[in-house]
Symmetry: C2
Subunit: 324 residues, 2 copies
């Protein structure tokens, strides 16, 4: 029995500081994630300031934070058999997450995300998917899925061609075992690229939905957050909708829980949503009430926002105790 099984794109982040001029000179949309091919990745990397490498990937970040908070966690994702794949494997295991996925041999290299952090703390991401494009149904162990209280899927999985099949297989296996499926929408542009598939999945196969303001309005093509939120309330059993500095709102049937943000010095917002989902699901799978779930989400997000990088720096066990 585990609490959370994450499935996602296994990525090593390369984080560097840049000013807004760098973004506009390189046609980047601030705050968004764009997919780049190997050639564009080379060009962006060559132009970037010195960087710092650390393991990333949205669902993988969530898993690392959840394990730090005390949850029992496993992760499925595809790295290559190369140095950065070794770094990814080391870090997720050292974070306390089980990582049974075998590496890709002799194919594309481990995925890299080139992240530019502007002085306002916003991160702009250029992802070269590399080995992640080979993640497919065969990588999803249905027995592992059945053992998890929640299977957590990142929306970015809709980009690699085979991953949607992995996604659907995992959702089916979870529900066959009477377990829950959580989805994070990841990015508004990702939602635009795959809106129909997302709408179908959320309405039919997702029990817990995570989304920020631009993502939820993109999903439902609504002009206001309020209208989109009401749509989510009807569509999905439990929705945890983050609102940046406005905290978050949790909807379950007729119930609405407003969660205050925790104070954070904003250094780098990379991984904030991932950490929120980690806190939320750790509390939820421990049987805590929705206000405690939201609070642990806010606390975890605040820790990650306070420094560069998406993985936690602080000892999170004390944080877990704050919510009972």
């Amino acid at each position: 029995m585990i609490d959370i099984l994450g499935i996602g794109n296994a990525i090593v982040d390369v984080v560097a500081r840049a000013d807004d001029g760098f973004l506009s000179r390189h046609d980047m949309h601030k705050g968004a994630m764009i997919l780049v091919d190997a050639e564009r990745a080379e060009a962006v990397y060559a132009a970037m300031p010195p960087g710092v490498e650390s393991s990333g990937g949205s669902a993988a970040n969530t898993c690392a934070v959840a394990a730090g908070l005390g949850a029992r966690v496993a992760y499925i994702g595809k790295v290559a058999d190369d140095q950065l794949g070794g770094v990814f494997r080391h870090d997720i295991k050292a974070a306390g997450v089980d990582f049974p996925s075998s590496p890709l041999i002799g194919g594309a290299p481990t995925a890299r995300c080139l992240i530019l952090v502007t002085p306002d703390g916003q991160r702009t991401m250029n992802t070269f998917l590399g080995a992640c494009v080979t993640l497919g149904e065969a990588d999803v162990d249905a027995t592992l899925v059945a053992s998890a209280a929640v299977t957590y899927l990142e929306g970015y999985l809709f980009d690699p061609p085979e991953a949607q099949a992995a996604f659907r297989k995992a959702a089916a296996a979870a529900h066959a075992a009477g377990k829950q499926v959580a989805l994070s929408l990841s990015d508004a542009f990702c939602v635009h690229r795959h809106r129909a598939a997302f709408r179908d999945l959320v309405a039919g196969h997702v029990d817990i939905l995570f989304a920020n303001e631009t993502e939820i309005t993109a999903l439902y093509e609504e002009n206001t957050w309020e209208a989109a939120a009401e749509h989510a309330r009807r569509d999905v059993g439990l929705a945890a909708l983050t609102r940046g500095e406005g905290g978050s709102v949790v909807l379950r049937g007729g119930e609405t829980v407003v969660v205050a943000p925790e104070y954070a010095r904003i250094v780098d917002t990379t991984g904030a949503g991932d950490a929120y989902a980690a806190g939320f699901l750790t509390a939820l799978t421990a049987g805590l009430a929705l206000p405690a779930c939201g609070r642990l989400g806010s606390l975890a997000a605040a820790e990650v926002i306070g420094h560069y990088g998406a993985r936690p720096e602080a000892d999170l066990r004390a944080m877990r105790k704050l919510v009972g």
Copy 2:
């Protein structure tokens, strides 16, 4: 014409936090650098908490800081033709340092230094030299050396078997061109391993010596810093001796300049000595007086001590202006 040419072990750092118990369980001497083979590197890495990767190497750090301060800088060092070698090359070039060295093809991987940072900010280093052991005379371009006002050598170069020859060739080429040779002693244990060779070099071939308290007393086998410092004064034209929180003392013939430390929040002392040398040499090659050289050294060290990692995070151009 360039100001500073650094020659050193080209290394990628893997930095993780650890408590003192981790160091003692793994027989590490706090604050020191030990050399490890591939097998021991694997074992230490497997036991380490999640890490963050960034380019390192003592002389390379000095070069990156000096370039950030506005000096014209080049670097010679050996990486492999692998992912971490690509990271090293990107970072030093992005820092503004010319890096003409060709990579090693088909041999050992790029060097890694596994760094454990304890809560007191001390760093304990486990270096797997990898491709660095192939650095030799052939890698030293005498024309490049002759074009540099100062050729800066790290003491760690005495560990790889061929590098001492590179070291001597560089010193000879610099002096033949009427230029200066600087040496950093790097580490007290490194001095113990190669004391006779260091003594010979310092007395006969070094114009500018950098050393901290344990290194200078180890070099001269003196019980007090004062006795060792007087020995250095007789031995070398210019000695910049750092004293940790006590600042530094610069000796040139009968002249003694006491330099105050700059206030720094101590997070991670990795690279403090490297940054001091960078500030000092940037000011020296710009023709500034010794007090300004020491002050720029202290300012640069304070920046690096205030965050994790050995490369600067702040924009250093403003710092350079502080010393005229």
